[in-house]
Subunit: 148 residues, 4 copies
């Protein structure tokens, strides 16, 4: 594609934990943010750019998070499907979009839509860094730019 | 005030837990969402509108969450100060704004700014409800409308 | 078997979450307790005795928990295998044993061994109850009594 | 004291989070394990032996955890009081005991009693280490040996 986008989105299947429920007996809003994080870690892994746990360099930190809650999610044995993709990239920011839905489309639309802005960050020196060429190439694999 | 705002913001002091840290050895982005939730529960309590845990009516659910991460937060014995206020209210939506900062201003600005949209929701009948007159009056106590 | 044991243990495969790690960059000890809980919920489901989320009767509460940590667990894409079984049953107590290990035996032994004592409890009336005949029959399905 | 015990126990006041509740609308059993961890971190800090977050040496890992749940804990604004002390020490193991109760004694006894065995561990080299003389001296401050 001329814009460098692959058109390919990353898909994770994540388990809902009984403990993700709150006193309202549905999945707590904070757990959705955890699901986005898990799916993001899987996507970065799949792209080959996630630093290992003990790394202090080559890491990304979250600069912004947006979650739109569209349907209540209740505990169930079946996993949820989380789709994650890169919607924009600049040397200092990577914007991810995300959708949580049923693994098999039930026609009721997604449970939530999310947006996460990652900033490449060098934890060792506590300083923002730039997206490397290798990271840019790797992340292009899951780049699906927002429609203009 | 002519717009019904009190000018008063609610302030919580929340403990940072060792377990809120992630493998990057700072407070995980998801924990900030948990802090917003705790501060919100305290503000709703202070306003007298939080339903008790077992209630299935008179409750609110989260429809939207936005978090801007401005500074990294690391584990420390001192609490963080979370300021929460109502920035807009309509019969079907309550918009809260939130700021996490040092309890004593250190001149470095807040750790994060958040926005939460609550929807009044009847869990018993699984249906959105309206903000009651009593809730509206109570929440006006912490209403600080966004500047135009 | 003469003691009513089936010899059958329940097996769950659980995802390790990136967020289960702590600042020591391994899975936090508290997360193991969460894994035991998830596996237990699955076993109670499989036996047909887990009350639904909104139930206030027919529930069990945890009276005792023991976890022996044998090997460190680090974040990885592969699930862990959690084996859960009933090791003892009386009208007022159900004792579960649990083991967390690799899904395919790596010869290094389990990551942890756990024991959970459940007490049948009526949350509605806030009072301990007795294991019903139906529950007893169902749980016998996963009964593997401790060797004498 | 002839046994080297100080008779002094460490006391933390910990906030109960709304999010510590589960679908049974009481504090989840896993959250008690988190409370024990937070109180332990505070005690190790107070004794001056807790390694900083980024340390890979001089750390302790949990080898065993036991929790007895005695009373249900429900969400409330008031903190809980967690008392933690060293009940036994050897070069390779530190045994901690713990009690969760009301900050002001209500005559109903503790919510829970816990026991945690810590093993001094060098995360850098992934190998058990020995309790240092300095650690031993520091931890003696909170040593209250079990009655014989």
């Amino acid at each position: 594609m001329s814009d460098g986008g692959s058109g390919l989105k990353h898909r994770s299947e994540l388990q809902v934990r009984w403990g993700d429920q709150d006193a309202y007996q549905h999945v707590n809003n904070v757990a959705y943010a955890a699901y986005l994080q898990e799916a993001r870690a899987e996507m970065l892994d799949a792209a080959g750019v996630r630093a290992k746990a003990s790394a202090r360099q080559g890491t990304f930190v979250v600069a912004r998070l947006k979650v739109e809650y569209l349907r209540q999610l209740t505990f169930r044995p079946a996993p949820i499907a989380v789709t994650t993709w890169v919607s924009a990239m600049s040397p200092a920011r990577i914007t991810l979009r995300c959708e949580i839905a049923e693994p098999v489309d039930d026609g009721l639309g997604p449970y939530c839509r999310g947006l996460t802005v990652l900033v490449p960050y060098d934890l060792e020196n506590d300083y923002p860094r730039r997206v490397s060429e290798a990271e840019k190439a790797a992340l292009t694999h899951f780049l699906v730019p927002d429609p203009q």
